[in-house]
């Protein structure tokens, strides 16, 4: 017999995990099946909801755009087929509450509906709804004097350059950047996990030694932000450091014990300590993944990783194929996951598709067609492939909006606008109708559609069997 669950989620990214948690909240038995480890490990760890509702219309002459202050107020400005318009702001609030419950003290931003502005490792300022606690002291809306620190040999964070970018962006605080050598044998190591491990375990007093190097560094900041420096060689704090209120580091401040690491550095520096949200790979992303995995475990969700879904069976419901309003859609009965060549069957009552977009592999294309590879859900796209993209690299690309269509409950729609299957919902990047990169809405759409899809899946599952599943029933 196959492995049975009420709800099976295909895909383990933010959308899939949110759908799983939302479904588990309703009391369903839930399983997540994923092709590989979550790509949250590549994400910055920031959870955006909506930064630029009409990204291609509202740039000024210099190409600059102003982010929205409150994403919830801006939803009405979105096109009708945008996922936020379809599932509604209540689903978005629901998704955020699932996220907040799961992440607890690891994240900040839940105190307001307004966007926070977070300086990133690229020297830009990003509007975001939730941000790691490790990032919180670095917000751009804060006017405290800031020193950014990079490590010698780490090509990902060029601190003086990031500081210069932020000054050019007009942040309301003084900011300078320095490069220091990471203490001990680790100078020049570019493996983030190695540095994080050393800080986690305070290997050879590395926390203290790093803090001391940072304290001696401001006079080398190369600008007049911190005033004239003193003699660095005496090991005492130079004049300039007294002005520094907060210190930003590459995001390597611990994997297992990040708070302990930050607190220890802050105490020695007598300044607030934060991390710059990084480019991939990303420890804030790794921490988020671990935290959500723990939340799934606590919620009793089973997770099966490393097994792509390769096949499925469909059973037409009674009366399927008839006309009119009473035309029930067929049901997906069995899902097959590949395990190194063997096909493992699963028999869930409802399925959530959360396989990601074009980059994640949830949507794929050939020269003349765009398609959804798992269930072959229809994906609308222009016939002529030259219309798939815009001539302007940052222009309104059609491909950015490719994806499956869903209804207000997250059900996947067929070409005729009716649900494709009675028990299939979709969430996250696989859903079309939004330009995540330009709008800065990727995480919020995953949360909102994940919430809707997870709850609808539970309803679809319970409608398939009136009594709760009895595991011993068919012995």
């Amino acid at each position: 017999m196959a492995i049975r669950d009420d709800v099976l989620v295909v895909g383990g990214g933010l959308a899939g995990m949110t759908a799983a948690l939302a479904a588990a909240r309703e009391g369903a038995s839930v399983r997540v099946v994923t092709d590989s480890e979550s790509t949250l490990q590549q994400a910055s760890g920031l959870v955006d909801v909506l930064g630029y509702p009409t990204p291609h219309d509202d740039a000024d002459d210099a190409g600059n755009r102003t982010p929205v202050a409150n994403p919830f107020d801006a939803v009405d400005a979105l096109p009708d087929d945008h996922p936020y318009r379809l599932v509604g702001v209540d689903a978005l609030r629901g998704g955020l509450s699932v996220f907040d419950d799961a992440t607890g003290d690891l994240y900040r931003g839940g105190h307001t509906e307004r966007n926070a502005l977070v300086p990133t490792v690229g020297g830009t300022v990003k509007p975001t709804a939730r941000y790691p606690a490790s990032v919180a002291p670095g917000l751009a809306s804060d006017d405290r004097t800031t020193l950014l620190v990079g490590f010698d040999g780490d090509t990902d964070v060029d601190a003086p350059n990031v500081a210069a970018h932020l000054r050019a962006a007009g942040v309301p605080f003084d900011v300078g950047g320095v490069t220091v050598e990471f203490p001990g044998d680790l100078d020049g190591t570019d493996q983030q996990t190695r540095l994080a491990h050393a800080l986690d375990t305070d290997e050879d007093g590395v926390r203290r030694r790093l803090a001391e190097r940072v304290k001696r560094s401001p006079k080398r900041a190369g600008d007049d932000v911190f005033g004239e420096g003193g003699d660095a060689d005496d090991g005492a704090a130079v004049d300039g450091f007294g002005d520094v209120d907060r210190v930003g580091f590459p995001a390597v401040l611990g994997r297992a014990r990040p708070r302990q690491v930050r607190d220890a550095l802050a105490e020695r520096l007598d300044a607030a300590v934060f991390e710059l949200p990084p480019a991939p790979p990303s420890l804030p992303g790794v921490r988020l993944r671990y935290r959500l995995r723990d939340a799934l475990r606590e919620a009793g969700v089973a997770v099966t990783t490393g097994n792509p879904v390769v096949d499925h069976d469909v059973e037409p419901t009674e009366g399927a194929g008839g006309d009119g309003a009473e035309n029930p859609a067929p049901r997906i009965t069995t899902i097959y996951a590949d395990r190194n060549g063997t096909k493992t069957p699963y028999e869930p009552d409802a399925v959530v598709l959360a396989t990601g977009g074009l980059v994640g592999g949830g949507i794929d294309s050939e020269r003349d067609a765009v398609y959804e590879p798992v269930f072959d859900c229809p994906v609308a796209h222009p016939e002529d492939r030259y219309d798939w993209s815009d001539a302007d690299a940052f222009g309104p690309h059609a491909f950015a909006r490719f994806g499956v269509r869903i209804d207000a409950d997250g059900r996947v729609l067929g070409a005729d606008g009716a649900p494709l299957y009675a028990n299939l919902t979709a969430a996250g990047g696989v859903v079309g109708g939004y330009d995540a990169a330009a709008e800065k809405s990727a995480s919020g759409v995953s949360l909102a559609t994940g919430y809707a899809a997870g709850r609808t899946a539970v309803a679809a599952a319970s409608s398939s069997h009136p009594t709760p599943t009895d595991v011993t029933a068919d012995r």
Binding site: I3, S36, Q41, Q191, R194, P280, T342, T344, V471, R475
Partner: protein
């Protein structure tokens, strides 16, 4: 490498043929027949490679000209090209987290492969620091075959750059060929245990061979699993037991329910109780358990770059198991590294006929029962008490090779069906021993540093007993925490099999 025709596989076949025609002994002939057993019509790729090799070796000294100089390595190019340098693999590498001199899987795989395109580049020494945990495989968002690249590079390193007269080479060879050692040890288990447990011998091992004296050498069982199986009447007994169980269960007594058990060396020589548990549990579900002749799965050989040793072992295993698979018999393993080897490493590295078919029909033993029987339901219905088990809580560690097969959640899910039994997952970290890796003096410290997180979580779990599927993870868990370690099959046996042990003891 896949089952596509491989020039060096052709080479291998040629060598075999030379060996055969050279000595013409019946032994070799028998071996070849076994190896070719699966040729028939099965996986075309492997078949082609073998046939190609044989045809080329027509005995007239013809040597094919390599028209495309890079063709030999062409199959790793797409994988290398698929890498877009996100470095996610590096963040999941347990070795890179504790050893700054290890440049991580992205370098060892795609980057090193590219560097090797230029003739004057050696494989970097750091390849031997990779523990072959294979975590990078499932971390990669772009399906780069990292462990395949590592295995290939490591084999090339050992082949071309390692001094074959060095103690390190022979130490590695000895560790990799544990099965050979174990066969000797099992002949006089008590004597061997006494000798290996002797602290003077341990010091000699450490000083002379570089095998750490920090660890207790695993004890050999006084009776191997295979000896036990033969003594209880071999296949005939298992067939009869299964038939009786089917009758008792109300199933068709004449049904053809058979599995072929790949037990590997460790369950045979060191933990026969795990292998016996498998036999009892499968027989209770009505399956006859067959135990074809077999050698080591090859896992320690891959990890030590001894690819030719592994190929020889794989040939025997694939040959013997593919005959049964042809007959519709599935293969089950109790060790997750063994199942990993049969399912993933064999098809990636060898083009032995029958490999693909064996890979597609190999399962973890517990996974197999979950798919084909109502294992969860029967466990939930079993009125097992903690007294029956002697244990009320387990600290469970998922081996990396179980994780890579998507099996990491399985045991905790299953055991949650048992009332009164608590199984806590001690987290996603690697145990750090990685087979023979943590046995090497120069790797011991790294191994223990990697294991630190698991040790902490196990201690926090405050359980009665530790649990895992992998024999070397079990050694590390015991070594780092003092917990006694069980295999999930032993719990299934206690929960589901009535009096099996008593029955056997009586017999």
């Amino acid at each position: 490498m896949t089952d596509e025709p491989q020039p060096h596989d052709d080479q291998d076949v040629q060598d075999d043929h030379h060996a055969c025609s050279g000595c013409g002994s019946t032994d070799d002939a028998g071996d070849t027949a076994k190896t070719d057993g699966g040729t028939a019509v099965d996986d075309a790729g492997g078949g082609t490679a073998t046939d190609g090799g044989a045809a080329v070796d027509s005995g007239d000294g013809f040597e094919p000209i390599q028209v495309f100089p890079e063709a030999e390595d062409a199959d790793l190019r797409p994988g290398s090209d698929d890498c877009y340098k996100c470095s996610t693999c590096d963040t999941t590498c347990p070795v890179a987290e504790v050893d700054e001199d290890f440049p991580g899987p992205k370098f060892q795989g795609p980057e090193q492969w590219r560097l090797k395109r230029s003739e004057d580049h050696d494989i970097d020494d750091s390849i031997s620091k990779c523990s072959n945990c294979m975590r990078c495989d499932s971390a990669c968002p772009s399906d780069v075959p990292l462990s395949q690249m590592h295995n290939t590079a490591r084999a090339q390193y050992v082949d071309e750059q390692m001094d074959k007269t060095s103690l390190k080479y022979w130490r590695n060879r000895l560790l990799a060929n544990y099965g050979t050692m174990a066969r000797l040890g099992s002949t006089f288990p008590r004597l061997t245990n006494a000798v290996m447990g002797n602290s003077l011998v341990q010091q000699v091992n450490e000083k002379l061979l570089g095998i750490t004296a920090e660890r207790e050498f695993p004890e050999f069982a006084t009776e191997t699993f295979r000896a036990w199986y033969a003594k209880r009447g071999g296949e005939a007994t298992s067939v009869e037991n299964a038939r009786r169980a089917r009758k008792r269960r109300g199933d068709d007594p004449d049904a053809d329910k058979r599995v072929a058990y790949f037990h590997g060396d460790y369950a045979n020589h060191n933990t026969p109780e795990v292998a016996k548990a498998l036999v009892h549990v499968f027989e209770s579900f009505g399956y006859a358990v067959l135990v074809p002749e077999q050698r080591c799965s090859g896992t320690p050989m891959f990890a030590n770059g001894m690819l030719e040793d592994a190929r020889r072992a794989a040939k025997v295993n694939v040959g013997n198991f593919s005959e049964l698979v042809e007959d519709g018999v599935d293969v089950v393993c109790s060790c997750t590294s063994c199942s990993m080897a049969l399912r993933q490493e064999y098809p990636e590295l060898f083009s032995i006929p029958g490999t693909a078919k064996v890979a597609a029909n190999t399962y973890d033993a517990v996974e197999y029962l979950r798919i084909n029987e109502n294992l969860d339901g029967e466990l939930a219905a079993a009125d097992t008490t903690t007294d029956d088990l002697g244990v009320d809580s387990f600290a469970y560690h998922a081996p990396c090779h179980a994780r890579n097969q998507g099996l990491d959640g399985q045991t905790v899910e299953l055991l949650s069906q048992l009332d009164d039994v608590d199984a806590e997952d001690v987290g996603d970290s690697c145990s750090g021993i990685s087979g023979t890796y943590g046995w090497k003096t120069e790797k011991y410290e790294t191994s223990m540093k990697i294991g630190e997180e698991m040790f902490e979580h196990m201690e926090e779990a405050d359980a009665t007993t530790g649990m895992t599927e992998c024999p070397t993870c079990a050694m590390q868990m015991e070594h780092g925490t003092g917990y006694e370690i069980e295999h999930p099959l032993q719990v299934l046996e206690a929960a589901l099999v009535d009096g099996a042990t008593a029955e056997d003891e009586a017999a």
